[in-house]
């Protein structure tokens, strides 16, 4: 079987049509971006935070990345040839690619990057099924897998822990220590940790000329701005006032009340970026009362989505599915029966049937993300009303997140915001779900995941995903609440800004 993942003509035409008018674009100027988070590392292979990745995607590029619809699209690869029943992937590199240090990018750099990724990356499991690599010539790189995986390029596209191509000299460099030398449209000029960072236009950038225009993190990217200064401003109100006073041209992570405050300013554009994250409750099927399926289902029955959305005050949209509308895998009918039950009578009946005897239900949340905190507080009220004995635990976000991942911490329900997993498709959910050590009744799940990866046809993969989604929701391992937006804003002198998961500054310009 030979299949080509090349440039989709229709997608290019659509992107070209959506692209801003070329005549208006002008080179030059510098802008200031007030970003929420500080940046600890610019090593793409170990970076998972959105704040870091927003910078990283301006400096580094992978073989495959995401397009405007978050689907896989070649970036440094000109084409991908799939063979040997999806066990062999041949990447042909684009010509004339150069790193920021002037060196030419060859397949030797790709090989070294894959090897480094397998050694240091947090997401090294991505390559655990690799049988070997071949480098037939300077422009060709071949990956051989042990088992068939039709969605391997879809897995490679992940913008979280991106498999960016670094110079071969970085191969043996420790995780977090890679030098910021990529092929992207911007280079790192200066970086004062926890204060600010400056990106400068890469004058020698080799854009993908086969594409009509920019397309997500891929396509024909053009840097118009001379420089972008990232000011790290942790305090949300300070970011708002920086924009209001003209100190910043763009800001990230605005609090909900800023929408109202900035909304009536004619010189400021507020963007609600959907899709961004999904607010969910996860239950622990290995701890105490929630080990019983009926108790978990009783929790789900008590959830009232509208009350939670109202309490958080965040821009959210109702969506029963674990994928977003627009994704080819998105179906609401499969997930709808499990969504927004708000049925206390059903919850009490399920509790009675389960034999629940008032065991404590620990709800874990954190103070760093107010929407998670508020959602858990509302849920605690709803559960108390249904007859649960609840206790809310407020801990730090990192510990809560690690507890969810590993099952540690003696919790029964936790609130979380899944971001990249639902955005990128079922294959990204797989790493999250399969790595969860405490999930019970995995038989069906594991088989469905195997079918999903091995099936060459989309219909079979879609069917497998429905089975997975139904099982996760029916077992109430995950209880979906709503889709959450990121709120960003920028001045109207800044053009070309489009709502997207990551803030991008290529193909944006100032007038």
């Amino acid at each position: 079987m030979v299949r080509w993942l090349g440039r989709a003509g229709l997608a290019c035409a659509l992107v070209a049509a959506l692209a801003p008018p070329v005549a208006a674009q002008t080179k030059g100027g510098a802008i200031t971006y007030a970003a929420a988070g500080g940046i600890g590392s610019l090593d793409p292979h170990v970076s998972g935070s959105i704040a870091e990745l927003e910078v990283i995607h301006h400096i580094f590029e992978p073989l495959v990345t995401i397009d405007e619809s978050y689907n896989a699209r070649p970036m440094l690869a000109a084409s991908i040839q799939v063979g040997d029943e999806a066990r062999r992937f041949r990447f042909t590199l684009r010509r004339n690619l150069r790193f920021h240090n002037g060196d030419r990018l060859t397949s030797a750099d790709v090989l070294a990057s894959f090897q480094r990724y397998a050694r240091v990356s947090t997401n090294a499991a991505l390559l655990e099924d690799v049988a070997g690599y071949d480098v037939p010539d300077a422009d060709t790189f071949v990956v051989r897998l042990k088992t068939s995986n039709a969605v391997f390029p879809e897995m490679l596209k992940s913008p979280t822990y991106p498999l960016a191509i670094l110079p071969a000299s970085q191969k043996d460099v420790a995780g977090t220590e890679a030098e910021p030398i990529g092929t992207g449209p911007f280079t790192l000029e200066s970086w004062e940790k926890d204060n600010h960072l400056v990106l400068r236009r890469n004058e020698a950038y080799a854009a993908d000329r086969s594409a009509a225009g920019p397309d997500g993190l891929a396509g024909r990217k053009t840097a118009y701005l001379d420089a972008v200064r990232y000011n790290f401003v942790a305090e949300p109100m300070a970011r708002v006032t920086a924009l209001q006073s003209g100190e910043a041209d763009a800001v990230s992570n605005l609090p909900p009340d800023a929408i109202r405050r900035l909304g009536d300013r004619p010189d400021i554009t507020v963007m609600r970026v959907f899709p961004f994250c999904q607010l969910m409750f996860a239950t622990h099927p290995g701890n105490g009362a929630t080990a019983k399926k009926l108790v978990r289902q009783a929790i789900r029955a008590a959830v009232s989505v509208d009350d939670i959305i109202a309490a958080t005050g965040q821009p959210m949209r109702r969506n029963p599915s674990l994928t977003y509308p627009g994704s080819p895998y998105h179906t609401e009918e499969a997930a709808a029966p499990f969504y927004d039950r708000r049925n206390l009578a059903e919850a009490r009946a399920l509790l009675a049937e389960s034999g629940y005897k008032g065991e404590k239900i620990v709800l874990q949340t954190n103070a760093s993300f107010s929407y998670m905190r508020d959602a858990i507080l509302v849920l605690a009220g709803q559960l108390s009303e249904a007859g649960f004995n609840t206790e809310v635990q407020m801990i730090d976000w990192l510990s809560q997140s690690a507890n969810l991942r590993r099952g540690t911490g003696h919790w029964n329900i936790t609130a979380t915001g899944f971001c990249s997993q639902p955005l990128l498709g079922p294959q990204q959910w797989r790493t999250q779900i399969q790595a969860t050590p405490y999930l019970r009744d995995r038989t069906g799940l594991d088989e469905a995941w195997r079918q999903f990866s091995a099936s060459p046809g989309f219909a079979q993969r879609q069917s497998a995903w429905r089975q997975i989604e139904t099982q996760l929701l029916d077992q109430a391992y995950l209880i979906k609440v709503a889709d959450l937006a990121a709120v960003r804003a920028h001045t109207t002198r800044l053009h070309g800004m489009a709502p997207y998961f990551y803030q991008r500054f290529w193909n944006t310009w100032v007038q």
Binding site: T241, S245, R405
Partner: protein, 315 residues
């Protein structure tokens, strides 16, 4: 005098020792794991454990504490886990910002705080006294972060007088931009100190104004200005200098909040980021340097006592 200073310094050693143990214990009591902060929540338990071992966090607390002390003994404050630089150099980079903020704030605090206190005492129980004390009460009561946000909204957003955030070093922009970036946070930071100082000055001044020597000076026909400025005010200086020492300490401490609100890259912000990232060496080292600064300030206050009041002797 020298002997007195040395005695004060030797007394500071056990204070700093107790302080450092408290800082160490408090940091380790905080929930959260620095290894997890470095590895990220998606990291495998093995990867987190590996980092924990590399950092020596898997050893008993007492071993970690003793090792920290042994490093401190040779002037090594450790290396920040997140910034990948020595604590001393991280503090050194940010010190000018916090010192500048504290200096400008002190320059604002001293004349206004002392002046208001003297005015209130001189016109005691009048409407002037009442208003000054109401203002002083507001100064000590209003939270700095709230006043800071309101101030930015009005003076930066509404009027556009000052930048809302950020710091311009003296060496880069000259005095004008440097002062423009600092004056707003410095005034907000000074509000508490002004209120505090005004109340103490008023109280000390009232005590002095009731003394016999003031009555004598007035009876001898000394004019009011000389009576207040030369005879009365000089005698209020002991409590005022004491409060100044506390004020200076509070200025440095208050910078933790103000630097967050105004996005100033100073030591306060460094500590907050260090705490959020569970960067033990950074927070411990910085707090210890803070503690040392407070001890030095108190010694300086003791020295100033001997200058303003020749009766005070040490050693």
């Amino acid at each position: 005098m020298f002997r007195g200073i040395m005695m004060r310094l030797s007394q500071a050693v056990p204070v700093l020792l107790i302080f450092s143990v408290m800082v160490f214990m408090l940091m380790h009591l905080l929930p959260g794991d620095p290894a997890l902060a470095i590895a990220g929540p998606d990291a495998s338990p093995e990867a987190v454990q590996k980092i924990r071992e590399q950092l020596g966090l898997d050893r008993p607390l007492i071993v970690q504490l003793l090792e920290w002390f042994s490093h401190l003994a040779v002037g090594n404050f450790g290396e920040s886990l997140t910034l990948k630089q020595s604590v001393i150099s991280a503090v050194g980079e940010r010190l000018p910002v916090t010192l500048s903020l504290s200096f400008v704030s002190l320059v604002v605090t001293l004349p206004i705080g002392i002046g208001l206190g003297v005015v209130a005492a001189y016109w005691r129980n009048s409407w002037i006294d009442a208003w000054v004390m109401v203002l002083a009460l507001l100064g000590v009561s209003l939270p700095g972060f709230w006043v800071g946000i309101l101030s930015v909204l009005y003076f930066s957003v509404q009027l556009g007088w000052f930048p809302p955030s950020g710091y311009v070093p003296l060496t880069e922009g000259g005095v004008g931009p440097w002062l423009a970036s600092l004056i707003q946070p410095a005034v907000v930071l000074a509000l508490f100190q002004i209120g505090f100082l005004a109340r103490i000055t008023r109280s000390a001044m009232l005590d002095v104004l009731d003394q016999d020597f003031i009555r004598t000076a007035r009876a001898k026909g000394v004019d009011e200005w000389t009576t207040i400025s030369k005879h009365a005010f000089r005698n209020t200086l002991i409590p005022v200098v004491t409060v100044l020492g506390i004020t200076l300490s509070l200025l440095v401490g208050g910078s933790v909040v103000i630097e967050q609100v105004f996005a100033l890259p100073g030591i306060g912000r460094l500590i907050v980021q260090g705490i959020l990232n569970r960067d033990y060496p950074l927070v411990q080292g910085t707090m210890l340097l803070f503690g040392f600064a407070f001890v030095v300030i108190n010694i300086l206050v003791d020295i100033i006592y001997t200058i303003v009041d020749p009766r005070v002797r040490y050693g």
